[in-house]
């Protein structure tokens, strides 16, 4: 049976695990009102998506 020849060093292990790190989602700016939002999503503060109003946001 195949057996590891060497102990995995701390550096090698940690370098590998570092790639599993959580990354914050990439955010975009709304083209209409400039608020932050996820891409391909209608804006939650002004209701715009792709240059037109898609939903109405209650004022205040």
């Amino acid at each position: 049976m195949g057996v590891p020849k060497r102990k995995v060093s701390k550096m090698r292990l940690r370098t590998r695990k570092a790639s599993h790190r959580w990354h914050a989602p990439q955010m975009n700016k709304c083209s209409q009102c400039g608020s932050t939002l996820q891409s391909h999503t209608a804006c939650g503060s002004c209701g715009y998506y792709k240059g037109r109003q898609v939903l109405t946001i209650d004022a205040g």
Binding site: H40, T41, A42, Y48, G51, R52, Q53, T56, I57, A59
Partner: protein
Amino acid sequence: MRHQKKTVKLGRTAEHRKALLANQVCSLIEHQRIKTTLAKAKAVRPLAEKMVTLGKKGSLHARRTALAVLRQQDAVKKLFDDIAPRAAERKGGYTRIIKLGLRKSDAAPVAFIEWVDAPVVVEEPAADEKGKKGKAAKTPAAEAAAAAKPARKTSAKKSGATADADAGAKSE
């Protein structure tokens, strides 16, 4: 193995799923646009578009096939009389899904699903300025289609407003 089995199961049995999707398509036909989870919207889309294809055929057989799936006579009627003729010049892609981000309570991704050819709905007078900008960006065809609906809406609003005024006068 589930290789190439594309059905979106939605955690339901086949009959439950069929009933759910039929109900969603009927709601979509009735309201033109529905808000649901992204997974359901994506599952509804193929069925909704198949129903429009049936509607475009327009034959009695197509009507009965649609009724067998949707199980609601008024929805099938509206599909064949209103929605399918509207999509006559479109070869597929009758629906649009707009993602709305995550729901507060359970962080489920939510989306609108709507007919591409539906008249554009811009509600509420508070958003008037924004609505005008949106209308300017629209294509002429969409604007023509939209022209009929808002007219009816505004008249309805006016009558509603006068009714409110009357009620106010009475209460005073």
